[in-house]
């Protein structure tokens, strides 16, 4: 629709091997089939929106990618190689970092400790290098252009947008290449959501690959290059943002429009 769009960097990525690929992922919880044969690919530097109604399987898929759940069947490939994602640590080792919506931050710890949670700069293997931690935390926040009064502020004293920024800064500090973001703006006001959108745009400009889970249409059309729709645990559509409309995506989500063949 807008052929001269500046954000067509994804078009340059014509490489045959995607950065991340999942093939035929299925997952059941007891008798509930959460995901059935879901496949998707993500190219380097691309922002993909994952949409669907409540219970469509979005969060389950993210938790499989971030190593929280094991898939019952299917494959995850990084750069064409099959990989195991049994724990969040496994996922991080493969460069997949997750920004959870709410359970991510520790209110009683300060900003720097939260940014480096689980990934602290060490000395002699068992000591925390606090000096480096505070310096690097400030540098990351500056890089993200986040206004934070002090890296020693307890996260419990921050606004929702600042907390989300801390969570994003952490994933950046983990030197993740792929950012999984589960409803990053769900709990936020308008201005703070706008700030998070800016952060996502910055990540993209920095060449990071982002998967945003949302059920906010405004949001997904603002940030995503491609939109993947889940319904009842199946992938029912993949659309480039320029080639679809809000109506089509909503129709795919609700089932008013029949989905593609899997």
């Amino acid at each position: 629709m807008e052929p001269t769009m500046g954000g067509s960097s994804a078009a340059a990525a014509t490489d045959p091997i995607p950065l991340l690929e999942i093939r035929g992922i299925s997952k059941a919880f007891g008798h509930v089939q959460a995901l059935t044969g879901v496949s998707l690919t993500m190219r380097e530097g691309e922002t993909v929106g994952l949409v669907g109604d409540n219970g469509a399987g979005k969060s389950t898929l993210v938790k499989i990618l971030s190593g929280v759940y094991d898939a019952d069947s299917g494959e995850i490939l990084m750069g064409g190689q099959p990989v195991e994602m049994n724990t969040p640590t496994d996922a991080l080792r493969h460069g997949i970092g997750t920004v959870y919506q709410d359970l991510a931050v520790v209110d009683v710890l300060d900003v720097a400790r939260n940014i480096y949670l689980g990934n602290v700069p060490r000395r002699f293997g068992f000591l925390v290098d606090y000096r480096r931690m505070y310096r690097d935390a400030r540098a990351i926040l500056t890089q993200l252009r986040v206004n934070m009064p002090s890296v020693r502020t307890k996260v419990g004293e921050l606004s929702g947008g600042q907390r989300q920024a801390v969570a994003i800064a952490r994933t950046l500090a983990q030197s993740a290449r792929i950012f999984l973001m589960d409803e990053p703006t769900a709990a936020l006001g308008v201005a703070q959501s706008e700030k998070v959108n800016e952060l996502i745009a910055d990540l993209k400009a920095d060449g990071r690959t982002v998967l945003v889970i949302t059920h906010n249409m405004e949001h997904v059309f603002e940030v995503a290059d491609r939109i993947i729709v889940l319904r009842n645990g199946r992938r029912v559509g993949v659309r480039a943002r320029e080639q679809t409309t809000r109506e089509e995506i909503v129709g795919l989500i609700t089932g008013a429009i029949k989905g593609d063949e899997n």
Binding site: S66, V68, T87, P88, T89, L92, T98, Y100, L103, A104, V105, V106, D107, V108, L109, R113, L117, G118, N119, V120, R122, F126, L127, V128, Y130, Y134, R138, N147, M148, P149, S150, V151, R152, R170
Partner: protein
């Protein structure tokens, strides 16, 4: 205050402007609560010095520190467990357990005393590992698992000693609790060294940070790969280890192992930890706070004894102090506020008046 005036005089003191976000605001902050505790302790010391000529004597201060030293060890144990978001009810009884085992091994079985101490502390620590493992494997509340362990270790201690104090330890064993290094008794020196080590562990090591993280938000910690289970088992083992050492020190000092040690320590230890600012909900606490809190409790007891106030009144007072301390904690965290009190107490208005009412 006059020197440190804000750049914009009309901005309220709490709200920092974006421009002041500099390296200066990233510099370390003083822990005001801990300063408050030690100020209170200083005031108490001054008042008691005025009221009693015996308070500020070397002998009295030394006996005060000896009482505080073992309490500080179990206080540290409780502090660390609470920071991790859990509770250990068995710590006081663990002292009796370790002391009785050492008595059994050294006096009854004739084990050399250093080996006896090592074995007793190891067995005590192992009991902590068991509490931790049951907690983690069963995903159970530590309130239950450590209460069960309290019953097990207390009962075992009485069983091993037949309910009687077992005495006549060899000289070497007694020396541990009664000997001096220069002017400092071992029973102050050993806990002091351990205490400093623990403070270092909590504030400087990765393990220490993980304890705070797990207690502050378990699921957040787990989502970044910090093992809740490993942390909890380690923390309960550490708690049992510290309580066991405290038990050995008491047993050595009194030259008798007994199943009844520790029963009197529960109240002052908990009081010291709570006064010291450790949160019951996890993630918050410091060992300097705990030490100050325990010194306050011990000083109150000492002072009241010097002033001829009954032991039973002291217990009541410590109980009242615990209640006061936890209430203050709740108020400062905003858990107790006017709307809640209004809902509970008929007729309570609080500061906020209904609009339209004439003041």
């Amino acid at each position: 205050m006059r020197e440190k005036q804000a750049p914009t005089p009309d901005s309220p003191p709490g709200s920092r402007t974006a421009e002041s976000a500099s390296a200066r605001s990233d510099s370390p902050r003083w822990n005001l609560q801990v300063i408050g505790i030690y100020s209170a302790l200083l005031v108490m010391g001054i008042v008691l010095t005025i009221l009693s000529p015996y308070f500020l004597t070397v002998q009295n201060i030394r006996s005060l520190l000896i009482t505080a030293s073992t309490l500080s060890l179990i206080g540290a144990a409780l502090t660390i467990v609470l920071i991790a978001g859990e509770i250990d009810l068995s710590f006081a009884a663990m002292q009796a357990f370790a002391g009785s085992i050492s008595a059994l091994l050294i006096i009854e079985a004739g084990v050399p005393w250093p080996l006896g101490i090592v074995l007793a502390v190891t067995i005590g620590t192992a009991a902590g590992v068991v509490s931790g493992a049951v907690t983690v494997i069963g995903r159970l509340p530590t309130f239950i698992t450590t209460l069960a362990m309290l019953g097990i270790v207390q009962g075992t201690a009485f069983l091993l000693t037949n309910g009687q104090p077992v005495s006549n330890f060899p000289d070497g064993y007694q020396a541990v609790g009664t000997n001096w290094l220069g002017p400092i008794p071992f029973s102050i020196l050993v806990p002091a060294v351990i205490y400093i080590g623990l403070h270092f562990m909590l504030t400087r090591t990765v393990f220490g940070l993980h304890i705070f993280a797990v207690g502050g938000n378990k699921s957040a910690a787990e989502s970044v790969g910090i093992s809740w289970g490993r942390t909890i088992i380690s923390v309960l083992a550490l708690s049992a280890f510290l309580s066991s050492i405290s038990g050995i020190l008491i047993t050595s000092r009194l030259n008798a192992g007994s199943g009844s040690y520790g029963a009197d320590d529960l109240l002052p230890a908990v009081a010291g930890v709570i006064i010291g600012g450790t949160s019951l909900t996890g993630g918050v606490g410091s060992l300097w706070g705990t030490f100050g809190g325990i010194m306050i409790v011990v000083t109150i007891g000492d002072g009241l004894t010097l002033l001829n106030v009954s032991q039973f009144w002291q217990q009541i007072l410590v109980g009242v102090i615990i209640m006061g301390a936890v209430l203050i904690d709740q108020v400062t965290r905003g858990s107790i506020n006017a709307p809640r009190l209004r809902a509970l107490v008929p007729g309570f208005r609080g500061r906020k008046r209904r609009t339209g009412s004439t003041g």
